[in-house]
């Protein structure tokens, strides 16, 4: 044991040394100061797809687009409310035909004016099948999508028939169904306007994107760094309070965190789980932990007879009650997750449709009740549940193991639940889309826009794009249709909540917890806020 003792000595020495490093951050000089010209550095990940608005479906690319683009609407960082940005007004009388007026005076940083055409061209591009945009389905509500983006064969039309430019500042949108909250979805980055340069010289644009946001891209080295600088001619109210942002690519957020402690980095917007216990000692109050529109659930394969037959909702409910959410969020996640009590997210707010406790006792930890319910429901299919997850990203192993241990303890059987890792995300998605998984699997939902509709329809509506478990319930579908047609927001929300109750009664998915965004920052910067998409609001950060 000499080797081990020896090693322990080193480790304790390091631990002591680290404990002494209460504060590591500190200015490395940099440029500027309190006059608002200071430049901060922030951690970043290499975007997975080319940086086009309708082609970016993950946070890292979205982070940049959020800095260089402004759309018709913008979600308030705190309340999540969709407020007019470039939109002067959006009018409708029937929830299906909308007239959108674009504010005057907006330009791209190249000087080109932002007009109604900038939007219509961008949306047509985003929807076009031949342009290969991953987010094309966002335009699926617009009339004519079937021709521009047919499910098979080549596209038969270049432009969406539902989009019409009226004049420089006005265009109309006709939807293929009634969708009362459509205007509120327009803050999503896929709906951003695009300058002519995007279409005329696409490759050059991708190398150095040009938009209409408060920042411009100064230089971009793929895979290592992007330098963004304040655009002094920015016409909006939310001008950048700092001179610019250097986004540095980190392949591991732990390294970014270490760099923050060493004072080489100003902002880490994703604190690694393993460091959460040290965050207080390392950063003190320079750590923020705020709710974000993300919920994690366990979904079930309803295409499997074993999980769809009547009575199994008791098993699912039992499993849900066997999970000690409080314990897991406290220990594994250090309170950066909040136990879920419904299927939406607290960021929606009461008015937006979040209803605390909607899940009721089914989401509380009641081991005895859990055991009884599972037995009443006919026991676990096959005697064991294996929760599938992808092993390559997101370190899901830890919480899946914890959930399984909790279930095993509640059911008094140490083989009742086990994790089932799948090697790659692509393989995991393949197994899901081809309905190959025979047991429950991890599911997560990060909202596209802060609407209750976005938490329910894509996930539980029959045939919806993210209804991976192929759950189908007529009552739920009808309620969603009714809610979408409803013109008054509060009424629509009420109907959505009824639909959510249907999800609850069937336990279509086990809600686990709401995810928070977390960030740590250096002493150089202040006024750091995360928006509801857990992205820092860069333009408000003050340097010095």
């Amino acid at each position: 044991m000499r080797g081990a003792t020896h090693a322990r000595w080193i480790v304790s020495a390091v631990a002591v040394a680290l404990a002494a490093t209460a504060c590591g951050g500190g200015g490395d000089g940099g440029t500027g100061g309190s006059d608002g010209s200071g430049i901060l550095s922030s951690s970043w990940g290499d975007p997975q797809n080319p940086l086009e608005p309708a082609n970016t479906n993950e946070v890292q690319g979205g982070k940049v687009l959020d800095m260089i683009f402004r759309g018709l609407k913008r979600y308030d960082a705190k309340t999540g409310e969709a407020e007019n940005m470039l939109a002067e007004k959006i009018e409708t009388s029937d929830s299906q035909n909308f007239t959108i007026t674009v504010k005057d005076g907006w330009t791209f940083s190249s000087g080109e004016k932002v007009t109604a055409k900038s939007f219509v061209d961008a949306w047509n591009y985003g929807a076009g099948l031949k342009n290969n945009q991953r987010n094309a389905y966002f335009f699926g509500y617009i009339d004519g999508f079937d021709q521009v983006h047919p499910t098979s064969g080549d596209q038969t039309a270049e432009t969406l028939s539902g989009l019409k430019v009226v004049d420089d500042h006005t265009f109309t949108v006709r939807l293929n169904q009634r969708f009362s909250t459509f205007p509120d979805t327009l803050g999503y980055v896929a709906f951003a306007p695009l300058p002519r340069a995007f279409f005329d010289d696409h490759d050059a644009w991708l190398k150095k994107p040009v938009g209409n946001g408060p920042y411009t891209v100064d230089s971009y080295t793929r895979g290592s760094q992007m330098s963004l600088r304040r655009w002094d001619g920015y016409p909006g109210d939310d001008k950048a309070q700092n001179g610019g942002v250097d986004l540095k690519v980190y392949t591991d957020n732990n390294t970014a965190y270490t760099d923050l402690m060493a004072g080489n980095l100003d902002l880490v917007d994703d604190v690694p789980a393993s460091q959460l216990r040290n965050v207080q000692a390392d950063l003190g109050d320079r750590y923020i932990n705020t709710p974000a529109g993300i919920i994690q659930t366990i979904a079930f394969p309803f295409y499997e007879e074993a999980w769809s037959k009547p009575g199994t909702e008791k098993v699912r409910k039992g499993l849900s009650m066997a999970i000690d959410r409080n314990q897991i969020t406290d220990t594994i996640f250090q309170k950066t997750r909040t136990p879920a009590t419904d299927w939406t997210s607290p960021v929606l707010g009461e008015e937006g449709g979040f209803k605390e406790g909607l899940c009721g006792e089914a989401c509380e930890y009641r081991p005895d009740e859990a055991k009884r319910l599972v037995q009443e429901g006919g026991g676990l299919p096959g005697g064991q549940v294996r929760i599938s997850y992808n092993a390559d990203t997101g370190s899901h192993k830890e919480w899946v193991d914890a959930v399984c241990n909790s279930i095993n303890n509640a059911l008094g059987n140490d083989r009742a639940c086990a994790g089932n890792p799948v090697g790659t995300f692509a393989d995991f998605r393949n197994q899901i889309t081809q309905s190959k998984l025979t047991g429950p699997f991890r599911a997560g939902w990060q909202m596209d826009y802060p609407l209750i509709q976005n938490f329910l329809q894509p996930l539980y509506y029959t045939g919806a794009s993210s209804n991976d478990g192929k759950w189908s319930n007529k009552e739920f579908d009808d309620l969603v249709d009714r809610a979408n047609a409803e013109t008054e927001a509060p009424k629509a929300v009420g109907i959505f909540q009824q639909a959510e109750e249907v999800v609850r009664d069937n336990m279509a998915a086990i809600p686990l917890w709401y995810q928070n965004g977390s960030a740590g920052y250096s002493e150089r910067i202040s006024n750091v806020v995360l928006n509801q998409f857990s992205v820092p609001v860069y333009e408000e950060i003050k340097v010095g």
């Binding site: 044991m1 080797g3 081990a4 090693a7 322990r8 080193i10 480790v11 304790s12 390091v14 631990a15 680290l18 732990n254 690694p272 789980a273 393993s274 460091q275 216990r277 040290n278 000690d324 314990q327 897991i328 220990t331 594994i332 992808n390 092993a391 390559d392 192993k397 830890e398 193991d401 914890a402 399984c404 241990n405 909790s406 095993n408 303890n409 140490d414 083989r415 086990a418 994790g419 089932n420 890792p421 799948v422 090697g423 790659t424 393989d427």
Partner: protein, 342 residues
């Protein structure tokens, strides 16, 4: 053996920087005791017939073979006895872990996560609140099986193929060496994801098989190099001149002289295989949960080194002892096979 993603490195490990500068400076001092130890060696082997270089060369050798000679030596070597006892102990707890651990490695209480040593739980608790002592004891079965079987497989396959390539040379060498080159080219992560993801068996054998498949080229190259050197020695030329068959030359003259580097690499590789098993588990293609193994526990503990080093140190200590036992065993076996010592 390239490393991979995260803690569960393939090579599994890292370490303190050896004290470099100082040692380079004392390099000259090493020469000083060269002559001294030379003298002891000579004293220890006074009765070697015909001098060290010629041992076992002629047909007039003693009735006892080289291998039984080696065994005779081994039994008297305390290093061998101690390492043998440690290995026997490891095998014992691998077979019957409940002998020294009464708990259940799968019973975990999250409320106790990362807590240190306390009565009844001498090694403390891991990140899931499982007892580290119980898991370390129960992990022996998987880890020792994987480590020992993969090492044996790799050493046998690698040294046989490499030895033959080195001994016969020519076309055989060319073909075998180029095959090893192709195997070298397969990244472990890719190999694991492709070959192991199709396996549904929950035993350790697919994992062991995979390690043998990707691990043999290295030993093969080492063995080939050692055999190429050994076959140039005078006694081999002499044996060949005396008309000894290839088999006899290989087994009796070359193997004992070429086996040392293979033993060295194999004993260290044993440790890396145990860690590699964790990498594969981390990739989601290794042993299926809820398997208990040192590698898995070490990799799970690695991110928490700042908060709960005890989670890492006990399974890592167990791994270190296992590797130490095998390194000592390998050393003893090598010494026993070295004719110059006799």
């Amino acid at each position: 053996m390239p490393e991979t993603e995260r803690p569960e490195a393939l090579r599994g490990s890292g370490g303190r920087p050896p004290e470099d500068g100082r040692i380079a400076a004392t390099g000259a001092g090493g020469a000083m005791d060269l002559a001294a130890s030379e003298a002891t060696t000579l004293e220890r082997a006074p009765g070697a017939p015909g001098g060290p270089g010629l041992t076992g060369g002629g047909p007039s050798g003693k009735p006892r073979s080289l291998w039984s000679d080696a065994w005779h030596d081994l039994r008297r070597n305390p290093v061998f006895v101690i390492s043998g006892l440690v290995i026997a102990f490891l095998v014992l707890i691998a077979l019957w872990p409940s002998l020294i651990a009464s708990g259940n490695p799968l019973s975990c209480d999250l409320a106790k996560a990362q807590e240190g040593s306390q009565p009844g739980h001498p090694f403390g608790f891991d990140g899931q609140g499982c007892d580290v002592y119980t898991r370390t004891v129960y992990g022996a079965r998987t880890s020792v099986t994987v480590g020992v079987c993969a090492t044996l497989g790799v050493a046998l396959l690698g040294s046989v193929l490499g030895g033959l390539a080195g001994f016969f040379g020519g076309a055989w060498d060319a073909i075998l060496s180029r095959v090893t080159d192709i195997f070298f080219a397969i990244p472990v992560v890719l190999g694991g994801l492709v070959l192991l993801s199709v396996v549904t068996s929950s035993t350790v054998w697919p994992v062991v098989g995979f390690m043998v498949l990707l691990g043999w080229p290295q030993i093969s190259r080492i063995a080939r190099g050692a055999v190429i050197t050994a076959k140039q020695h005078d006694y081999v030329q002499a044996a060949r001149a005396l008309g000894a068959s290839s088999t006899r030359i290989l087994l009796r003259h070359i193997t004992p002289n070429a086996i040392a580097p293979v033993i060295v690499v194999a004993t260290i590789a044993l440790g890396t295989f145990i860690a590699l098993e964790a990498t594969l588990s981390y990739l989601g293609v290794g042993l299926k949960p809820p398997t208990v193994s040192w590698g898995i526990d070490i990799s799970a503990a690695s991110p928490y080194i700042r908060n709960a080093p005890h989670m890492l140190l006990w399974p890592a200590g167990a791994l270190a002892i296992t590797v130490l036992a095998f390194i000592m065993l390998g050393d003893a076996v090598r010494d026993a096979l070295d004719p110059k010592l006799r």
